[in-house]
């Protein structure tokens, strides 16, 4: 075995391509003359985007119009030349503007900068002559003509357009002050919280309609009522929440009723915007009532408290009665409660935390310095939203609330911690005379921050605002229907500036677990949310600006690429948004290629789109770009032959041979192996392939190094020949062995000089030669709770993968096993070389469905885009750092991933840690830059930048969570955990994460919840559902019979699948399809109507016997037809006579000319459009034996050994403290 030599890790010519900041900081810097010092005449021709390089579509007009956007934005003195400045932009907008158009597209040039798929084809010119004569070396690129990036754009007119410095910076300042000044704030939450809140930022003049405000008041008032035995009319939601005035005890509380109607008496409206005086009263009433009896003593140091509240009862004009009563009621509540142990209750989360993924200690921060706890009890009482949502008769709440409010208390404080204690609250808060409030109010804008104590008293209002802003709570126990009927959309990132928002990276490409980054690590720990990013860097994009320029503008210090979120100090300088260094702009950058004028740099596409691709100049290559090289390794052991995969694989390969991505230099080779290696010489002049069998597998050599990898174009006949013969050639071989290790070593030798892609088809356990394995799985243990052998048995494949990675070779695995193949070990070859793994368990080509799936998958694999010799670097704003990486690659340095191949279906995850406090910045950025060689031999850099605002309060953090992304990251972390520790540990960690997050939400809420409610923020309401689904997924389930290989493969999928597919794998989509023609439709890009049936939850409760249901698991769809379905559906949509004539092998739908059938097809095609390869379909009768396939995926229901969703919620409820 070649020893893992250093060169392999990084052969000299491949040293971290210039890319790497450290090694190459000289590169782009030195090579690019700075226009400043150099007379224009000597400037390199400015080929910002030389017309020759552009596809015809990119006319100057468009670019100009594009640039218009920014010009307008900063309304500088730029002559506004474009006829329809914003018109075009907005029109570009509208077609995309379907519900989930990613913001980026709106910003992306409508048709403008060329899109990836058609790169300027520079390399077409040079015929590459690799194999013409037997060479000593493997065909290499020596013959290749160097293609310098064509520089010949016309020189721009030298007139410089002097522009006043753009006012850009201003746009970066979110207008929080608008906010503070709005009286709303008074209502509640600490000001910063608000300044971060999305809607207002978006809409600077945001003034909540008065009645909203009232509704807030309502809420504030309502809750006490609830506790006071009021019957609450169930269905009413926030605004119209009407308290039955006649409610038994609480009439006293009546101040509410006035507001309770949601109708505001005019005076109130006017006054207040500011919480109408008696609003305040009402809340103070609450306080007046609640604290004394119970929590008052237990937690609050009287001193401050009294200051803050001066609660003498007589203040509240309307309320003596109420007070008395609610005291009673509340004391009832509390009497039945556990001792007041606020403090005591908090720790428990701690105790559960250890097993959490973030093993860091938490919660310490939580315990409030007591003197700050002022307000909790009233809040908790006043706040209680459950009545609104849960429709519970209130007495339930009364009887016993074992865990009533305490956790709320610390929370309040969390906020108060943040801000300096304001001027003595008692001043401002003068409950005696409601009118006195007004002056106070007017002060507000000024001293907003200082009065936070006061705010807290009004968290009543906060609840209203939360509602207003969509921060409503969601009771998981009361509402089993958590899944929204439409697709779960990724939360939007609000940066406080619409231009930036629309420039931000698409959530499909780059996603963070939170849309707001907590400003410090302790805040992050309090939220208990994992912080990380998921990235799908090479996703097929429809709009991708491609730029070719001499100088790629990057920060000199940290090598960040210029992006929409940098600060322009003036037209000549920019400030890096990652390291804050001030850099100079090269003159070229100020040149607008469209108007051919110098000026505002913000017109450049780099500044307008956060996803962009550069065609890299020569400094970014350490060797000439490699050609596309594909090598196919076929297992021809007995098991493999029996499975029959070879026919399908060869047939597909033969068909797609010509569509393999690549240029004229593309090389292809084929190697077969059983206990020997079968090389196929495809030399010039041969009439048919020449097979050479090497029996010596322990020390591999290549029989004839030259003709094993051959130019696709030149030898296509020989290859065709070979692929036709191959499937039958070994039919009579009975060799049971498979020398995978040796074959891989041979592949490594064959491709070492160029790099490329190796596709391995493995059907049996590699049991001879290097890397031989023995079966480890004990089939009787498949259902046990402890799973062994998740880790590799040896490190042969890993070491080989590292060597391959050093030579820019990626190995992709197609595992078509019928027996155990030790996926855990052999997957190492792909995991560390940036490959991908496809698994077809129990494959038999005769099984139509499997074969279909394999063929589709392989076909997609062959024709999809590919990037060679890639590296990806992730940079993030100072203060953050990348902690752990997930995916298939080799981590070459702290932020550099080596990806010998990158494919559009590969995704990566990174955990991020907060090293320094971020309180002095408003936003943070992540930038992923992927440098790769396209199949056409161009070096390109694809840059994605994601910008996220920073927030300072716990409730902001929690309400900004991205549940799907969190689940994606958790799954990756859990895979690591199961490998390093054990599966049960990982499962426990999942549950603890759910508990911790819900607990911390409860704390952040600052309120009591009913004994039967389990509150979650709307943005996290699906989290427990997904977690319960994860616990039942193939990767993490226990107790159900799961083959080890399947489990390991599922784990690998968790690590590498793009988020959308991952979620679909965890929690398949279920749709009713029996009435598609009645469903609302949307039009797709081709103007076809697409029915949009609602998503159903995965439980039998959602099925009915008269329907047909389509379950989409990503790679496979199951159409379950229930017995009672209408005959019309059967005959028209499915084209069968009657129910029983649906056969067990119905794998496709007939195409019929009727509405039902068309809609069904349209819908299925629509679903398939989002997938890399169309899913296979299986139509199943409800009484066929196959239905188990469907029912086993109804994961919300109880299945053997696993809790149903509802039971899981109950379990969480008992654990959430």
């Amino acid at each position: 075995m070649a020893q893992p030599n250093q060169q392999n890790g990084m052969p000299p010519q491949m040293k971290p391509p210039i890319y790497n900041g450290v090694h190459s900081s000289h590169s782009s810097r030195d090579s690019s003359p700075h226009g400043k010092n150099i007379p224009l005449s000597q400037l390199p021709p400015r080929s910002a985007i030389p017309p020759t390089q552009l596809p015809p579509s990119r006319s100057p007009n468009i670019t100009q119009q594009l640039s218009q956007l920014n010009i307008n934005k900063f309304n500088t003195s730029t002559p506004n030349q474009s006829p329809n400045p914003s018109g075009l932009v907005s029109s570009a907008f509208s077609p995309i503007g379907s519900t989930q158009a990613p913001p980026r597209t709106t910003q992306a040039p409508p048709t403008g900068y060329n899109f990836t798929q058609k790169p300027p084809s520079t390399q077409g010119q040079m015929p590459v002559i690799t194999n013409q004569q037997p060479q000593q070396k493997p065909p290499t690129i020596q013959n290749q003509v160097q293609v310098p990036p064509p520089n010949q754009g016309q020189a721009p007119p030298s007139t410089q357009n002097q522009m006043p410095p753009p006012v850009k910076n201003q746009s970066f300042v979110p207008p929080p002050h608008n906010f503070n000044s709005s009286p709303i704030n008074q209502g509640q939450a600490p000001p910063p919280a608000q300044s971060q809140m999305p809607p207002p930022i978006k809409n600077p003049n945001f003034v909540p309609p008065p009645h909203n405000f009232n509704s807030i008041a309502n809420q504030g008032v309502a809750p006490p009522t609830t506790q006071g035995h009021t019957q609450i009319p169930p269905p009413i939601k926030s605004q119209s929440f009407v308290l039955p005035p006649s409610s038994v005890i609480n009439q006293g509380v009546t101040p509410p009723p006035t507001q309770g109607q949601g109708q505001v008496p005019p005076p109130i409206k006017n006054q207040s915007f500011v919480p109408p005086p008696h609003n305040f009263n009402s809340s103070s009433i609450n306080q007046g009532m609640a604290p004394p009896p119970t929590q008052g003593q237990s937690q609050m140091p009287p001193s401050i408290k009294s200051q803050a509240f001066v609660p003498p009862p007589h203040n509240f004009n309307s309320t003596p009665l109420t007070q008395g009563q609610s005291q009673v009621s509340s004391s009832q509540n509390f009497s039945s409660m556990q001792p007041p142990p606020i403090q005591g209750q908090i720790p428990p989360p701690n105790s559960q935390i250890h097993n959490n993924f973030n093993s860091s200690p938490s919660n310490q921060g939580y315990r409030p310095p007591p003197n700050q706890v002022q307000m909790p009890p009233p809040l908790s009482q006043g706040y209680q939203p459950p009545p609104v949502e849960t429709n519970l008769p209130s007495n339930q709440f009364n009887n016993s609330s074992p865990r009533l409010p305490p956790p709320g208390a610390p929370k309040a404080n969390l906020h108060s911690n943040r801000y300096p204690q304001g001027p003595p609250p008692q001043q401002s808060y003068n409950p005696q005379a409601p009118p006195s409030f007004n002056p106070q109010t007017q002060n507000y804008p000024v001293s907003a921050q200082t009065q936070q104590q006061f705010y807290q008293q009004n968290s009543v209002t906060q609840s209203g605002f939360n509602k207003l802003w969509g921060h409503d709570h969601f009771d998981l126990l009361q509402n089993p229907n958590v899944l929204p009927p439409e697709k779960v959309a990724p939360p939007k990132v609000y940066l406080g500036n619409e231009l930036l928002d629309s420039a931000n990276c698409s959530p499909e490409v780059f996603r963070c677990t939170m849309t707001k980054i907590p400003e410090s690590n302790s805040l992050l720990q309090k939220s208990r949310l994992p912080l990380g990013i998921l990235i799908h860097p090479f996703k097929d994009l429809t709009h991708l600006p491609v730029i070719q320029c001499n100088v790629i503008v990057r920060c000199r210090a940290c090598r960040t690429y210029i992006n929409p979120f940098v600060y322009f100090i003036d037209t000549k300088r920019w400030k890096c948004n990652l390291c804050y260094r001030v850099n100079e702009l090269p003159e070229e950058f100020q040149f607008d290629p469209v108007s051919k004028t110098y000026g505002d740099p913000t017109r450049r596409p780099e500044i307008k789109s956060s996803t962009i691709e550069y065609i890299a100049p020569a400094e970014y290559m350490l060797r000439p770009p490699q050609p596309a090289v594909y090598l196919f390794l076929f297992d021809i052991s007995r098991l493999a032959i029996e499975s029959g995969y070879l026919q399908s694989a060869c047939a597909v390969l033969l068909e797609e041979l010509k569509s393999l991505p690549g240029d004229a230099r593309t090389q292809v080779g084929i190697l077969a192996y059983d206990s020997a290696l079968h090389f196929f010489g495809l030399g010039e002049g041969l009439s048919q392939p020449h097979e050479m069998t090497v029996l010596e597998i322990d020390d591999i050599f290549l029989p004839c190094p030259d003709n094993l990898l051959v130019n696709l174009k030149d030898r296509i006949d020989l290859l065709t020949d070979l692929l036709t013969q191959l499937p039958t050639r070994y039919n009579n071989s009975y060799d049971n062995n498979s020398a995978l290790g040796a074959a891989l070593q041979a592949a490594h030798k064959m491709m070492g000089a160029t790099g490329g892609r190796v596709s391995v088809f493995q059907a049996s356990l590699p049991n001879v030669g290097p890397g031989a394995l023995v079966p480890r799985e004990d089939p009787s243990q498949r259902a046990s709770t402890e799973v062994q052998h998740l880790n590799p048995a040896n490190d042969f494949y890993k070491r080989l993968a590292l060597e391959c990675s050093g030579q820019q070779i990626a190995v992709d695995l197609f595992v078509l096993n019928s027996q155990y193949v030790d996926m855990a070990t052999i997957s190492g070859i792909s995991r560390f070389s940036g490959g991908c793994i496809h698994h077809f368990p129990l494959f038999k080509a005769s099984r139509v469905l499997q074969n279909e799936r394999f063929e589709r998958c392989f076909r997609r694999y062959l024709v999809r885009k590919i990037g060679f010799e890639a590296v990806m670097r992730i940079r993030c704003t100072r203060g953050l750092s990348i902690h752990t990486f997930h995916g298939n690659f080799f981590v070459r340095s702290t932020d550099l991933l080596s990806l010998p191949n990158v494919s559009p279906d590969a995704a990566f995850g990174m955990q991020v840690s907060i090293d320094e406090t971020l309180s002095d910045v408003q936003s943070v950025c992540f930038q992923a830059a992927l440098l790769y060689t396209s199949s056409k031999g161009e070096r390109r850099i694809r840059v994605h930048t994601l910008c996220l605002p920073v927030c300072a309060t716990l409730s902001d953090v929690i309400n900004a969570a991205d549940q799907q992304c969190i689940v994606g990251l958790l799954a990756k972390m859990a895979v690591d955990r199961s490998m390093q520790s054990s599966l049960s540990d990982a499962r426990e960690a999942f549950i603890n994460v759910a508990i911790d997050i819900l607990s911390s939400y409860k704390m952040s809420l600052n309120m009591a919840e009913g004994p039967t409610s389990l509150l979650a923020p709307p943005c996290l309401r699906l989290l427990p559902l997904y977690i319960s689904a994860l616990l039942k997924s193939t990767a993490f389930r226990t107790g159900t019979c799961t083959r080890l290989d399947d489990r390991v493969k599922a784990m690998i999928d968790m690590k590498t699948k793009p988020l959308g597919h991952l979620i679909q794998m965890i929690y398949p989509d279920l749709y009713p399809v029996h009435n598609l023609e009645e469903q609302p439709i949307v039009l797709n890009s081709e103007e076809e109507p697409i029915p949009q049936p609602p998503h159903l939850q995965l439980t039998a409760r959602c099925l009915d016997s008269k329907g047909a249901f389509l379950m989409d698991t990503g790679e496979h769809m199951i159409l379950l037809v229930a017995p009672g379905v209408s005959p019309m559906f059967l005959s028209e949509a499915l084209g069968v006579r009657d129910y029983m004539s649906i056969t067990d092998e119905m794998y496709e739908l007939p195409v019929l000319d009727n509405l039902h059938n068309q809609r069904l097809h349209q819908f299925i095609n629509f679903l398939n459009d989002e997938k890399p390869a169309a899913a296979t379909l299986h139509v199943i009768r409800d009484n066929s034996p196959n239905r188990i396939e469907f029912y086993e995926r109804l994961i919300e229901d109880r299945v053997e050994n696993a809790l149903s969703y509802h039971e899981f919620m109950q379990h969480l409820k008992t654990q959430v403290k």
């Binding site: 893992p4 250093q6 392999n8 890790g9 990084m10 790497n20 450290v22 880790n791 590799p792 048995a793 040896n794 490190d795 042969f796 890993k798 070491r799 590292l802 050093g806 560390f832 750092s881 990348i882 902690h883 752990t884 990486f885 080799f890 981590v891 070459r892 340095s893 702290t894 550099l896 840690s913």
Partner: protein, 148 residues
């Protein structure tokens, strides 16, 4: 001046400990280089792994001498480290060669910080024990002197 076995074991421990100090220095530097991107993790692991077992063996070697010399207290001081070493080696990632560092996982921030901390702590420990052995050597010599 007589020279007895305890004194011999201490002088050996002293010398070996000096080597160990260099080892751990090298370890600390190597991980620092990794962290600052100067080195490729594969190279780094290749250079670190061969040193792991010798370090452990050297450490165990002079502890064997302590046992032979009946220097129980010195042994006691070292036992935790021996146990740590054994455990560390037992739980190493699956690998065919000697050593405990795996280039594919070494770059995880957790592992990296752990290794770095381990290096510093060991460095401190070896340094302190260096002086302790020196002291032990002198004491042992004196004891020998007293007896004679």
């Amino acid at each position: 001046m007589a020279f007895n076995f305890p004194a011999f074991s201490y002088i050996i421990a002293l010398i070996v400990d000096a080597f160990l100090i260099f080892f751990s220095l090298f370890h600390v530097i190597a991980f620092d280089e990794l962290k600052t991107d100067y080195k490729n993790p594969i190279d780094q692991c290749n250079s670190l792994n061969p040193l792991v077992v010798p370090e452990y063996l050297l450490h165990i070697f002079f502890n064997v001498l302590f046992v032979a010399a009946g220097e129980w207290f010195s042994l006691l001081l070292n036992i935790p480290l021996i146990i740590y070493h054994i455990n560390r080696y037992r739980t190493r990632p699956v690998m065919s060669g000697l050593g405990i560092y795996d280039p594919t996982s070494i770059m995880n921030a957790d592992v990296l910080t752990r290794c770095q901390r381990e290096g510093w702590i060991k460095l401190a420990f070896y340094l302190l024990s260096f002086f302790y052995y020196l002291y032990g050597y002198v004491i042992a010599l004196e004891n020998a002197h007293d007896h004679t």
